[in-house]
């Protein structure tokens, strides 16, 4: 078992890559690329499940750690590991792999080799971001995750793919320039790219405060664009309406939000505290702005884009509330957002394949024709808007209650208004798509309810929403072992071994 524990993260990282190579090498015959991709993602999902099963609860610090030197000078090491913060995000990435493949099963008809191999590379890159504990390694995966996404959006865009791809790429690539400079500056000052070492050196070293402000800001800016936070969301709607379904599920949120928690708040607690009031304000604006825009969209992908902006802003609010409960809720809500969005995107993608449009007003009265699709859609919608017993409720409750008690009442009230608006636009969407009079388009096509493969994915996702709503402690217990809000962290809590590393690092300088 030890051997597995010591190599599991490498395996999770390499299995999709191996699958990508296999897809690229083997011929594009029948459904061969689809099957290889599906089996690969299933295998890596099973591997990710190993993590929570053998995760030691209550043990702080990183588990399943691997730390091997990679490049001698500058010192970059292959240092990976998970803690409560990243544990479930890795599993979520693993879960969304097969879901994404199923969602593209018949939607992607040509150049399947390119699609599936790049999709698998994307999986590797995302897992890499979540498990890297070396800043350079992290940056590597962070940048790598852009390329497959941009190429796939360009190739499979619905109307003007290349334009959306360029927008997406530049929006996320340019802010990573200051991020890299900031990382290099930290290295020049501390001689380390290692997360844990840096954390201590920043907390105890005498780095110039003014420069640290800029460094922290560079980190924050790169992450805020990726999330996206309110004024930086320009790429979101175009990307959502152009990206293939499987990629739209993963493009927003997770990477940026996790990075904020780990690398902005985690590395620069002082600067994060200073930036928090502004971010809270932006987050609340984002919640309301996103919800209002979602209300008036005519295209359901764009509606989902602004809904995502609203929901992701809520999570940003929780992160910069800087409370223990809020952070638990933030991670939990990322998981919810991932599962619920996956189900909704799968269903919307299925509708688009069947009826060939994403214009909401072309639909109507679908429930009679596709009863099973309607059922799943309604359940996912209810989960998204936070109906008790479903997962969205737990996350929103944790976030809003912690903001209410720990941050500010007025902001909470404003944010709750956004949640109400969220219920409005989602239920209205359900009503326009599935109920009311049957539209001409719907009447003109034969009824074609969910296929077996779609059902096979949606049923477990729905069960998951229910379980996550009823027994959140399965998740929150392990999430909380990874959370150390800044006020709980003091010099007394430092393990001596880490201090030695840091001193050694200083001597090396």
């Amino acid at each position: 078992m030890d051997a597995i524990n010591q190599s599991i993260l490498t395996l999770i990282l390499l299995v999709p890559l191996a699958g990508a190579l296999l897809v690229a090498v083997l011929p594009d015959r029948a459904k061969l690329p689809n099957w290889i991709a599906l089996l690969t993602t299933l295998a890596s999902f099973v591997l990710t499940l190993h993590l929570p099963i053998h995760f030691v609860l209550g043990q702080s610090g990183f588990q399943y750690e691997i730390n091997r030197p990679w490049i001698e000078s500058p010192v970059i090491s292959y240092h990976v590991g998970v803690d409560g913060l990243s544990l479930w995000l890795v599993v979520l990435t693993g879960l969304l792999g097969p879901v994404g493949i199923i969602a593209s099963w018949s939607a992607i008809a040509e150049r399947r080799k390119v699609f599936y191999s790049l999709f698998l590379v994307q999986q590797t890159a995302m897992v890499g971001v979540f498990i890297s504990l070396d800043l350079m390694l992290y940056y590597g995966f962070w940048e790598l995750s852009l390329v497959p996404m941009a190429i796939l959006i360009a190739m499979y865009g619905r109307k003007d793919g290349p334009k959306a791809a360029l927008k997406f790429f530049l929006f996320t690539f340019i802010p990573s320039a200051p991020l890299l400079v900031a990382i290099l500056w930290l290295y020049a000052r501390t001689g380390s790219f290692d997360f844990a070492t840096l954390q201590i050196l920043i907390a105890h070293g005498n780095l110039p405060a003014a420069a640290m402000c800029w460094v922290a800001f560079a980190f924050l800016f790169a992450f805020a664009v990726k999330v996206p936070v309110f004024p930086l969301h320009g790429w979101l709607a175009d990307t959502f309406s152009e990206a293939p379904v499987a990629l739209a599920m993963v493009v927003a949120g997770k990477l940026g939000l996790y990075s904020m928690l780990r690398f902005h708040v985690g590395l620069f607690p002082v600067q994060a505290r200073a930036a928090a009031p502004y971010l809270i304000a932006l987050a609340v604006i984002g919640i309301l702005y996103g919800a209002c825009l979602a209300l008036v969209q005519r295209d359901f992908w764009r509606l989902m884009a602004f809904a995502a902006l609203s929901h992701l802003s809520l999570i940003t609010l929780a992160i910069y509330g800087l409370t223990f409960t809020g952070w638990t809720g933030a991670i939990y809500q990322i998981l919810n957002h991932g599962t619920v969005d996956a189900a909704l995107f799968l269903l919307l993608g299925a509708l688009e394949v069947r009826y060939g449009t994403s214009q909401i007003n072309a639909y109507g009265g679908l429930a009679a024709k596709l009863p099973r699709a309607a059922t799943f859609f309604v359940i996912a919608t209810l989960a998204m808007i936070g109906l008790p017993m479903l997962n969205g409720f737990v996350g929103e409750f944790l976030i809003l209650s912690s903001t209410f008690t720990g941050v500010s009442r007025s902001w909470t009230i404003a944010a709750t208004l956004g949640v109400i608006l969220g219920a409005a636009y989602m239920l209205w969407l359900v009503q326009r798509l599935f109920y009311g009079a049957e539209s001409k388009l719907i009447a003109s096509r034969p009824a074609d309810d969910l296929h077996f493969r779609e059902w096979v994915v949606l049923a477990p996702l729905t069960v998951l929403m229910l379980v996550m709503g009823l027994a959140p402690s399965i998740w929150t217990n392990s999430i909380q072992t990874g959370i150390h809000p800044p006020d709980l962290k003091g010099s007394a809590a430092l393990p001596p071994s880490v201090l030695q590393i840091s001193i050694h690092g200083e001597v090396q300088r």
Partner: protein, 515 residues
């Protein structure tokens, strides 16, 4: 194998001076042999075999350079030619580029083209000049080496003389290049006037105490103009797009990398070894040139419609990224610059190889729009094009990333944070035009018939080998850069060795402290 090696070393070691210029000797012999065979072959006889001969010569030269590592660092021929890990690094790099360019030309030069034999001979002679340039430590030898390499590249640039663009490119390159060489020569003359010597180490020794300090400064400035022209850094870059557009693509693969590598080696030698005392003067100058090059290059590239012109401007921008490394402190700056040269060469040769195959020797498809649907028409070439472009953007796990990474981390180390920020924003800007080509290649052609009308290019064995080498180099530099970086660093150490310390123990016996 080992005994053979021993045998060769046994034969060579007594002739140390010869050993120190062995790669140049090998290349010269290859070139002369090619010329002789070419002259004696009947007119209609295919000359392709000569290309293989040249490729073998380049491979042997790489091997000869690696053999030189067994020599202690030092110079021969009255202190004019040096051998050290630094020169070996650049020798291997230049010969590697020449090898790939030769393999590329083998399959793409039309079978019936005139003077094929001369083409291969010129490439090899150019390599002699470039190799000698990296090893020369005497300014007149530097000048001669630069001329050898320049003259053969002038001729190669105009190789497609039946088109209008070829001779135009050659004449522009020749005229502007001669001016630049003139500047360099003036610089040499002035520094000789100021110090009375042309030996680089002696100049380094004498320059700080030279009576005519103005002469030394003027010499530095003039020499910088000459060298920066060769690396096509702004504001001395105007020749680049025209020459790249007019010259045949396999030649551009060579032209945009090998002479630049040699010129950067010379630049490193001049600023770090010859004028370390003037650091305060050349460092801000190179800062400005770096910023100018990347900004001008990238802004101009954004507006290009012709792929080769776009890549020409991109190469100007890359010269800027490379110059950013000169803001680094001593060894780390030199190592970063050397590494960047290698990474840039790997990906640039690769992309020009792809372009040669796609648009053909006659360049029937020169525009970005002509690449539409390449990924569907020729999946292998399309994939490789995207791969090399991704590396040029600087995405991690490719050579381009570590090149930029080391260059900018050297700059940050040296305190030039503004330069690093400008540089990285520039690389974001650059992503826009590289990505435009990627997206065009990944986009379906609106007219399906037009797609099948263009025949998919054939990838021959030699070109396949060239592409494989370029891909392998780009990946190795991006995933396991340790080995190459170590070579660059050991090169940097030899360049950094202060000449005074080297010279003193040789002349006077220092009392050794008891251990």
């Amino acid at each position: 194998m080992n005994t053979l090696l021993d045998l060769i070393l046994h034969f060579l070691l007594p002739h140390e001076s010869l050993f120190r210029i062995l790669p140049e000797v090998v290349l010269t012999l290859t070139g002369v042999t090619i010329m002789l065979i070419d002259a004696s072959l009947p007119i209609g006889f295919p000359r392709r075999l000569l290309g293989f001969l040249a490729a073998i010569g380049a491979t042997l030269a790489i091997w000869a350079s690696l053999l030189q590592l067994s020599l202690p660092a030092g110079s021969s021929f009255f202190g004019t030619v040096e051998t050290s890990p630094f020169t070996v690094f650049f020798h291997v790099l230049i010969c590697g580029i020449v090898l790939v360019a030769l393999l590329l030309s083998l399959d793409t030069l039309p079978e019936d083209s005139h003077h094929q034999g001369e083409f291969y001979a010129l490439v090899v002679f150019g390599a002699v000049g470039m190799c000698l340039l990296t090893g020369a430590v005497e300014l007149l030898v530097v000048f001669i080496a630069l001329e050898i390499s320049s003259i053969s590249t002038y001729v190669l640039a105009g190789y497609r003389k039946q088109t209008g663009r070829g001779p135009e490119a050659a004449i522009k390159y020749f005229l502007l290049g001669s001016f630049a060489t003139g500047f360099l020569l003036y610089g040499i003359a002035l520094i000789f006037g100021a110090t009375g010597t042309t030996q680089i180490y002696e100049i380094a020794h004498l320059a700080p105490s030279a009576q005519n300090h103005a002469f030394v400064v003027a010499a530095l400035a003039l020499m910088l103009v000459g060298i920066l022209f060769k690396v096509s850094a702004a504001p001395f870059h105007v020749w680049t797009p025209d020459v790249y557009e007019g010259a045949p693509s396999p030649v551009v693969a060579l032209l945009s990398t090998a002479p630049k590598a040699a010129a950067f080696a010379l630049l490193l030698r001049v600023v770090y070894e010859m004028f370390p005392s003037l650091h305060a003067l050349w460092s801000p100058l190179l800062w400005v040139v770096a910023v100018l090059s990347m900004t001008v290059g990238n802004l101009a590239a954004l507006r290009q419609q012709n792929v080769k012109r776009m890549l020409a401007y991109s190469s100007i921008a890359h010269a800027g990224y490379l110059l950013a490394a000169f803001a680094g402190l001593g060894t780390s700056g030199i190592a970063a610059a050397s590494f960047y040269t290698a990474a840039y060469a790997a990906m640039n040769v690769g992309i020009f190889a792809v372009i040669t195959l796609v648009s053909g020797y006659e360049e029937k498809l020169p525009l970005i729009d002509d690449y539409r649907g390449l990924l569907y028409r020729a999946p292998l070439l399309g994939g490789l094009l995207i791969f090399f472009l991704v590396s040029l953007v600087g995405i991690p796990f490719t050579g381009g990333f570590f090149g930029k990474f080391y260059s900018f981390s050297a700059a940050v180390d040296g305190g030039a944070i503004a330069l690093a920020i400008i540089g990285l924003f520039n690389s974001g800007l650059a992503a826009a035009y590289y990505l435009r080509l990627v997206l065009v290649a990944a986009q379906r052609h609106p007219d399906q018939n037009a797609e099948s009308a263009v025949p998919a290019p054939q990838v021959g064995v030699a070109v396949g080998a060239a592409l494989l080498l370029a891909v392998a180099a780009t990946l190795v530099l991006g995933i396991v850069p340790g080995e190459v970086l170590r070579a660059a660093q050991s090169g940097a150490h030899t360049l950094q060795a202060p000449p005074a310390d080297d010279a003193v123990p040789a002349m006077t016996v220092m009392p050794q402290p008891a251990p």
